[in-house]
């Protein structure tokens, strides 16, 4: 039953987009103009390609995010049983967090958190 509803919700989302787009395409006007299909800029044609290189800082944050996101994924099952496991849970968390905080401190010291 649960998986049926999961599929129903997914189909609903797709149906919403498809329906609204169909209505919009049917009702909306259509006209073609070479200027209209150009990328939006300040009134002059775009210089070069738009798929340019961007700031490497974004990439560093993405890598750091991966590390900490996996951490939260691992901590969720731990959180459910923490109250029963008592002091053992605390010891486990302390060890786990120490490793991660060392990682964060290293990244901080190396300047990965600075926007240059």
């Amino acid at each position: 039953m649960f998986f049926i509803f999961l599929i129903v919700v997914a189909l609903t989302a797709i149906a919403l987009v498809v329906l609204a787009m169909t209505v919009a395409r049917l009702v909306g006007p259509r006209s073609y103009n070479p200027q209209k299909a150009e990328p939006y800029e300040c009134g002059i044609p775009t210089r070069g390609k738009s798929w340019v290189q961007f700031h490497a800082g974004y990439y560093l944050y993405a890598i750091l995010f991966l590390m900490f996101d996996i951490e939260t994924v691992f901590l969720f099952p731990w959180a459910v049983v923490a109250a029963e496991a008592g002091v053992y849970a605390l010891a486990g968390l302390a060890f786990f967090l120490t490793v991660l905080i060392l990682g964060l401190a290293y990244a901080w010291k190396k300047g990965a958190l600075e926007w240059k």
Binding site: F5, V9, S50, A83, V87
Partner: protein, 361 residues
Amino acid sequence: MNYYDINSLNQSIHGTLSSLMPEGLAITLEGIAVGLLIIVLYALLAIVLIYMERRVCAAFQCRIGPNRVGGRGGLLQVPADVLKILTKEIISLRHADRFLYNLAPFLVILASIFSFACLPWNQGAEILRMDIGIFFVLAASSIGVLGILLAGWSSNSKYTVIGAVRSGAMIISYELSIGLTVLTMVLLSGTMDIQEIVMEQEHLWNIFRGHIPALLAFCVYLIAGNAEANRGPFDLAEAEQELTAGYHTEYSGMHFGFFYLAEYLNLFITAGIASTLFLGGWMPFHIPGLDGLNAVMDWIPGVVWFVGKTFAVVFLLMWIRWTFPRLRIDQVLTLEWKYLMPLSLVIVLLMTLCVIFGLVL
């Protein structure tokens, strides 16, 4: 004691339908009903939220706001805008990556409808219920950032690319704080099932049960939630003055409408999750010991409590949005990585200590 548990109603509807027709047809009918319900609620909430945003922002800026269409309050302004956006032309770009360009709204809407379906409106009134409910919400809502990145990248414009990478970096960063603050509430409740988290708050809401760490977590969640919904002081993905409209600059008409819709619904979902985790969801306000008050509170339906709390949080988020000036990208990332992230780690540690040594109320 809950007078408004609709689990039995659900079961009786299912029973009646199953007795009238074959099982498969009954489930199909229920599926269609659920789908229609989601679409209607989704559209209705978007209209209400957009109207509320306009009024609230007007009030904060000492303006009047919409007041012409549909009587004195401007009540029909937003429905009129929805109709207008439906009839606008959908422009197709020449140099865009056509497939990804069309795929992006699907991902954004999919993410927000999946998290929307997990919200507990009342006892028995949730569409998706699972043991890992809150974790599923986190997972589903992070699909949205893929849609934003694809939208920016595929439309082949410099504004959109910059808007998309900014938004991507910001959303994934603040997801960490969201994850950790949600984790503290899971720690406190000992379950990830959203309905059970609400049930756990029968005597006292989590924000009172968890006192200091819960209050801190609530503040961090609100800040990070504002960033997740691409709003407030964190709306630099679509900083109008520098990037026109950010990642959805190249979308027009209803195509753009989806991003707008998802943005407002994400605001509602953020507030809904905040009210579920911290403020008791559909659970009425109870004070242990005051049985008279508790009994009176029980007469107010759960859905009223849920919607009321959620809109209170929505108002708070709008207040933040229209009060603070926009941050710069380096300030945004510094705030998350150097302040909120270590703070949320400390909150997790504090909450662990409180839970293990029985210091919660």
